[in-house]
Each structure stands twice: as structure tokens, then as C-alpha cells.
Amino acid sequence: MRIQGIVAGAVLLSASAGFGFQAAATGISGAPAAGGDSFVIKGATVHTVAGADIQNGSVMVRNGKIIGVGKNLTASKDLKVIDGKGLHVYPGMIDAGTEIGLIEINSVRESSDTTEIGKFNPHLVALTAVNPESEHIPVTRFNGITSALTMPSGQLISGQVSLIHLDGWTTDEMGIKPRAGMHLRIPTIAAPRAGFSSDADVPAAANRTGFTQAKQNFDKEMAELNEFFESARRYVQLRAAKPEGFKPDLKLEAMIPVLEGKEPVLVTAVREREIRDALAFGDKQKVKIILLDAQEAWKVTKEIKEHNVPVVLGPMLSLPLNEDDPYDRQYTTPADLQRAGILFSIGTLEGKANLSSRNLPYQAAQAVAFGLPHDEAIKAVTKNAALIWGVGDQIGTIEEGKWADLILTDGDPLEATTTIKQVFVKGKSSDMDNKQKQLYEKYINRPN
């Protein structure tokens, strides 16, 4: 079915909502929309994130790609027209660090595919285990997030992180970049935050084992990590020599793009010491790194900038790491990085402590309340994420030649009160329905 314009789109939505009752019973929802990948949105305020906003602008899409953006465009007659009057068009948002599709219910082991056994798993690929039917996907898309970086996690090297579209019939269709980076957790002396109380970040491991033991564990893990990289380098030489009976080693094979600098290492490094260790590790191993969840990046801005390392921050709406940190410590970090000229984006790290990828825009907004310029916040969840993950030529802005990952809204997508009227992924009009909406429509109609 082709989109007939936003009015027809609304009819289509309400029709699918009616269908929702049956869908809820069978557990089927969020079927990717077919067709509709050539259209023009007219008369909207277009926020390209590549330049100035365009009032009363148009976005032309053909075969899923943007073919024109601007004022007074002449659209060819075969393009369906979507009336954008009074509405805004933004690029679809990108959650730069999640576990979406890999975990459904935190407390149910069987629903989680995030964490494999073993310290070194560079060959495991997140996309392999993404469940396209996850309820998290339509619910997240509903708030205007069209793609996400989903990642395995674990002890040291947990696997390949995958950049995916949040729509598609299969994992193959969803994948934008299955091997976007290799996730590494830098060894740590203090345990990362966990738990329930407001002073949740007691360095539990250090307390339990004592500093000396924790330091010994740290040194051992650092040595193991370096040795693993060295063994990968020896493997490259061995491989080049093609000795008789050579058998590829799948783990070490996966290290080659990293060693060649073709693939970045996503390094989880939370505290200052870990961030410094991560930068030093990158230098020593001569690999490209991206910092993840670098909560104390504000202490290390100079060095991060000198290294030209981008940062994927975790959620702003989280408690300060230390009891005596300023109350707004997490809120002001994006502004600190922006002032230092560091390229950063935001990952909701969904799966951790009830955080939701769907609240990505509100994480960015919190940074605005505490000093980040608004346009920089929009960039953080669109363009910057695309640049960091090496797909700046494909998504992240509204520019000719890019995928038509678009959201049509009645206001600023960073405001919780704004409604996302329609999401387009690769030019396809996404189903805006989801199980939660179906339950709403079912029970609001329960007779009193």
C-alpha cells in the first residue's frame, strides 16, 4: 500500500489500530510496511541537521533515498504527496549504544543474548542474535528512533557491535553495518555502578577484595588483553606465511580489521582512570577507539581531544558516580565535551537498570537544560552518531543521497509532549502501532 499523504496515513494508522485487537491476541504487531518508498513531503519545517532549517520546505524521496531537499522544489508528478503543513521533519534519531533486540526481559535469562561465556569473543556478531520481532523495536521507533547500535557485553572482548535499522522483516534487512566495531571493556579496579540505593556506586569489587587484590586482578587482565592483541599480530604473520596445515582461527581472524585500523574498538571506560587506560591502550596497540559510557570524560577532555577519540555517552538521566559530585554532574557532561570540541553521541545502554531506548531524545534534552546548545543535542542523536559509527554518508542528516530515515513530528522531538506522527525507515512508512498502544486501545474501551 502506498502512502496517500498524511491524511491517508492517519486512516491507515487507525485501520491498523482496529486490526490491533486481533494482532494482540496472536502476538503479531509492528509488521514492516510494504512499499511507499517514493514520495515528497511538502510544506513542513525541515530540520536537515546539515545546514539551516528550511521553513515551508520539501523532502523528495525515491526508492528509499533522499533525492531533493529545499524550498520550492518541483516534484515529479509520480511522487505521492504528503502534506507536512504545520509539521516538522527531522532525520530519524540514532541510539548510539543499546542492547535492543538482544534482550527482551531483563530478569529472564532465556530472553537475553547479550553475554557469551569467555573473556575473548571478538568473532561474535550482535546482529546474529537480534530478534526482529522484539517488542522493544516498534515501541522505540514510536518515539522517532530509526536506528540503533546494538552490542554484546561481557568481560573483556564481548563481540562485534551492529548498527541496525529499527524496521525490517529480517536481520539482514535491518543491518546497516553488522561489524561496526568491537566491544571491549577496559579492565577496572572499581566496579561499575549497580544496584538500588542512591549511593549505588561504591567500588564494590575493591571493597570486597581489598585494593591489593583488585589491583592484581586488574594487572592480570591488562596483561591478558595485551597478549591477546599480540597473539592476533603473530597470527597475521602466520597467516601471511601460509604454512602447511594452516587452519583459520575464527577469534583471531576477527581481530584483523581492528589491527588494520579499519574497524574501531568500542571501549567501555567509565571512570577517569579507565578512560586514561583506554587511551593509552589505543596508543599502545595502535588501534582506533571509541569511548563508551565515559562518565568521567569531563575530567579528561584535553587528552580525549588530542587523541581525536569520539565518545558515546551513556544516559544523562543517571546518578552522579560519586557521592560528592555535583548533583548535575551527568547532565553537564555533554556541554563539557561540546566545548572541548569532542565528537560525541548518546547511547541509552538499554537493558541496564530499566533504561529505555525510546527515551533517547529525553536524555539529549536533559543536556540542553544544563547548557548544551539545542542544535548540538539534536546532532548528538542524529548526525554525530552516524559519523561515529562510520555511516555519515548513509544516515544522520536530511541530504540528497542518504537513506530517507525521517520523522514527521508536531514539535520538537526532544520534548516528551511531542508526538511523532510518522516514521520512515529507508523511505518506508513504518507501522506506528505496537503492543502497548493496542493494550491502551483495548482497555480504554473496557465498559465501566
Partner: protein
């Protein structure tokens, strides 16, 4: 000067006696916020001024005259609203669960409150002025709860909300049955399984407890009747566990029941009906939207999350429209935090209900102000901006439902407990103070025990022994 005639008050009948008591409650300077947008919650929006004096709100209107010596704050472009009330929090609590038994009504969270928990200050900075501090959810009938004002810097006793009805925590579903599973679980015993292990058993535990409580109440009634007749009688043995449940039966203690699924919500309503008590609030109540009718008929309130879901099986049907459906179906509804982080942005959580379910801005803000005040029966004191109510007031730099706004100042009882400017300007001083303390501790350690330092102790050990 007759100030009363100059106050354009919204609740004029209450203004009289209070104006005469001006300044009687605290020594704080009166505060007049002018030119602000005042979201009263209960009486619309006022563009004008609000006067805080003697711990109370003493004037709201287009023009309110400043009393002599009042501090005047220009609220141009700013918003004023009542302090946020969190109906479910565990900050301050040094212990959460007495998980060794299925009924722990003999214990109370009030006994383990730490007034120095930094969570209090952080909550204040997010606009929370009152919080209901609850026992955990490891038992079908948990410990006693207490309502606290976030009077940062005061001791735990002084932070108690004077006269607020005490409560008790009940818990249904996965959490209380977790300890019944062989592996044990969070909050439960690691060893032998503890009854109950099913939702059926949870019901039974509550029924058995009230069965005991009724019999216990009867023995006391018999004893008291004998005493009244002048007969000689032996008093029954005092049972601290059942005392709390008798208070529930007598309507002197509110039940705040942790729950998720619709079946367990109905179960508890039936049990309460059978034993003749009321559930004051269903907490979390993520499937409340399925049984809004029954919750309303029982007269209970619902205190839920804006959009938490997917963290456990019983949260699978959680929907962000829950609060909106409950409100539209006439249930007294609030949004709570249950979490020291979420507690800091309950205003932003409220904003989500405008999108999810289409609540009005006032309905949304009521979810974190007047509604929880009513649920805790403290609405005569707090929850809205009305003359005569406690001066628990927030000043924002923008509309509280905008994600781009933040709390600038917080007053409780007319005393300022949070000021963003002051917080920022004190940071350098505090950093220096911290550095000096660390240096002193290090020097003391090097010196093998300086003044007030036990030899051989690390600074942490000294701190721990205080």
C-alpha cells in the same frame, strides 16, 4: 496597612487566621516571587506573585504587596509550582527488606533513616519536597512506612511530615514469592525456601495474618470491656506484628500495596473486603489500567511509573498509557519513582502522560503534586499552591513539563533548601575543603597519628568508625 485587602487571594476564607500568624512558624525571611507564571494545580494559572511567609503561602495573585523586609525575587519568564510529592521512595533507608519472614509488620522503615543520604539533596534539586519512604517488597506484608519532608540538613526526626498517616507496605506477585523458590532471590533467604512460592500463597499469607489480627483485636476488646466494667482481667500478650495490622483494620494505618498484574490486584481487593479494611494505594500497579473500575470502586489510589517496562515478566503488559487510563476512569493516580534517579525528574515523567494518553498539562502535573498528596492524606497541607498551605514551592526557569527546564529554587515550609546559584557558587569552596581534608588525612597518616587520628588507620577506616 491592611495587608488582607491587598492580597488577591485565591482561597480568601483561609487567609484570615493565617495572616495573623505571620512569621510565627519559622524565623525565615518572607519571600515574594513576582512576575512569574504560577501553576497552582488546583486553581488554574496565575500570572503574578506568590508570597511565602511564616512557613505558609500567604498570598497568590496578580499583585501581592511585599511585607517589610521580604526578599523579592523577579520571576519574569519563570514558573512556580508546588513541591513534588513522591509516593514511593527508598532514599534515606539504610535497610530495605526484613526478608526473613513473610509478614514483617513489626518492623518500620522510620527506625533506619539516614538524614545524610545525598539522595535527599539530589531529590530536592529535582523538585521533590515530600516522599513516602517504604519498606521493600520481599514479603506479602512488609514493614511500616513513613512520610518525610526533604528538610536537608535536619535530623531524621525533624524531617518527618508532622501528622501524616503512617503506612505499611504489602507486596504481591514475583517479589514476595521469590524467596519461596529454591534458589532464593533478591531480598529473600539464600537457604531454605520461605513460604509463599505462588500468588495463591501470597493471598493465604495475607488472609492468615488478618485472621490472626482479628482474633487478637477481639482478645483486647474483651479485656478492655472487662476493665471498663471494673472487673479484674489479665491483659493479653502484646504482639507487635499484629498491632500494626489492627491499626490497618481500625483505619489508622494506610496500606500501600506493591503489585503488577490485574489478578493480584483483584485478589487483594477481595481480601480487604473480606476483612473489612481498605487499600489506600496500589503501588506500581502496572496493569492497573485493566482493572481501573475495580480499583475505583474500592476507593483505592494508584501510584505508578510513567513508562517502565520489560524488566520482568509481570511488567510485560506495562504500558505508558497506564496513568492516563486510570485518570480518565476516575482513579486517583500519581507517578512515583521507587528509585533515587527517577526521583530527580518526576516532572519530566509527568510530561510523558501528555503524549501517552493525552492528559492535560494540569492533569499531568497533578500526578506528582496534588494527587499523591491526596493519596497520603496530606493535601490540606501540600500538593497545590493555595493560601494557607505549607510554603513547599518550586521555582523553575521554564515550564515544568518542558524537558529543557530545570528547578532553580526549592522552599519547604518557606525555608529555602535548594538554590542552584548557591550550589554552583559553593562548588569551588567545597572542592578546596575536600582537598584540604584529604591532605590532612594523608599528613596525619604519614605522621603515624596526628591529632584525632588513630595510628595505622586509613582515612576510610576512620570515617567508617565514626
Amino acid at each position: 496597612m491592611n495587608r488582607r485587602t491587598l492580597l488577591l487571594t485565591l482561597a480568601a476564607p483561609m487567609a484570615g487566621p493565617l495572616v495573623q500568624k505571620l512569621g510565627a512558624q519559622t524565623g525565615d525571611q518572607a519571600v515574594l516571587i513576582q512576575n512569574a507564571t504560577i501553576l497552582t494545580i488546583t486553581n488554574g494559572t496565575v500570572k503574578g506573585s506568590i508570597l511565602l511567609q511564616g512557613g505558609k503561602i500567604t498570598g497568590i495573585g496578580e499583585k501581592v504587596l511585599a511585607p517589610a523586609g521580604a526578599k523579592i525575587i523577579d520571576g519574569a519568564g519563570k514558573f512556580v509550582m508546588p513541591g513534588i510529592i513522591d509516593c514511593h521512595s527508598h532514599i534515606m533507608a539504610e535497610a530495605i527488606n526484613e526478608g526473613s519472614v513473610s509478614v514483617s509488620s513489626m518492623v518500620g522503615i522510620a527506625d533506619v533513616l539516614n538524614p545524610e543520604d545525598i539522595g535527599i539533596y539530589r531529590a530536592l534539586a529535582g523538585g521533590v519536597t515530600t516522599a513516602n519512604i517504604l519498606h521493600g517488597s520481599a514479603n506479602a506484608i512488609g514493614g511500616k512506612t513513613i512520610v518525610m519532608k526533604m528538610r536537608w540538613g535536619k535530623n531524621a526526626e525533624t524531617m518527618k511530615f508532622e501528622g501524616a498517616m503512617p503506612g505499611i507496605k504489602f507486596a504481591l506477585g514475583e517479589n514476595p514469592k521469590r524467596a519461596g523458590q529454591a534458589a532464593g532471590g533478591a531480598g529473600g533467604a539464600a537457604g531454605a525456601p520461605r513460604y509463599p512460592a505462588t500468588r495463591m500463597g501470597v493471598e493465604d499469607v495475607i488472609r492468615e495474618a488478618f485472621n490472626d489480627a482479628k482474633a487478637y483485636k477481639a482478645t483486647w476488646a474483651t479485656y478492655n470491656a472487662k476493665l471498663a466494667k471494673g472487673e479484674v482481667a489479665m491483659p493479653p500478650a502484646r504482639d507487635l506484628k499484629l498491632d500494626a495490622l489492627v491499626e490497618v483494620l481500625d483505619g489508622k494505618r494506610f496500606v500501600h500495596a506493591h503489585c503488577y498484574r490485574q489478578d493480584e490486584i483483584l485478589m487483594l481487593i477481595h481480601v480487604a473486603d473480606d476483612y473489612g479494611f481498605k487499600i489506600r494505594t496500589f503501588q506500581h500497579v502496572l496493569e492497573g489500567y485493566k482493572v481501573a473500575k475495580e480499583i475505583k470502586e474500592h476507593g483505592a489510589g494508584a501510584s505508578t511509573f510513567a513508562d517502565w517496562w520489560a524488566y520482568k515478566i509481570e511488567a510485560q503488559d506495562a504500558i505508558p498509557y497506564n496513568a492516563a487510563i486510570l485518570v480518565k476512569k476516575g482513579v486517583l493516580t500519581s507517578l512515583n519513582s521507587d528509585d533515587a534517579e527517577l526521583m530527580r525528574h518526576l516532572d519530566k515523567e509527568a510530561a510523558k502522560t501528555v503524549k501517552y494518553g493525552g492528559l492535560t498539562e494540569t492533569e499531568a502535573l497533578a500526578l506528582v503534586t496534588i494527587n499523591p498528596a491526596k493519596q497520603l492524606q496530606i493535601d490540606k497541607r501540600v500538593g497545590s499552591l493555595e493560601v494557607g498551605k505549607d510554603a513547599d514551592v518550586l521555582l523553575y526557569d521554564g515550564h515544568p513539563l518542558s524537558n529543557f527546564s530545570k528547578v532553580e529554587k526549592v522552599w519547604i515550609d518557606g525555608h529555602q533548601y535548594f538554590d542552584r546559584d548557591e550550589d554552583i557558587s559553593n562548588r569551588t569552596k567545597k572542592e578546596l575543603e575536600k582537598k584540604a581534608l584529604i591532605q590532612k588525612a594523608a599528613a596525619d597518616q604519614r605522621g603515624g597519628g596526628g591529632r584525632g587520628t588513630a595510628a595505622g588507620q586509613t582515612p576510610q577506616e576512620q570515617e567508617g568508625s565514626n
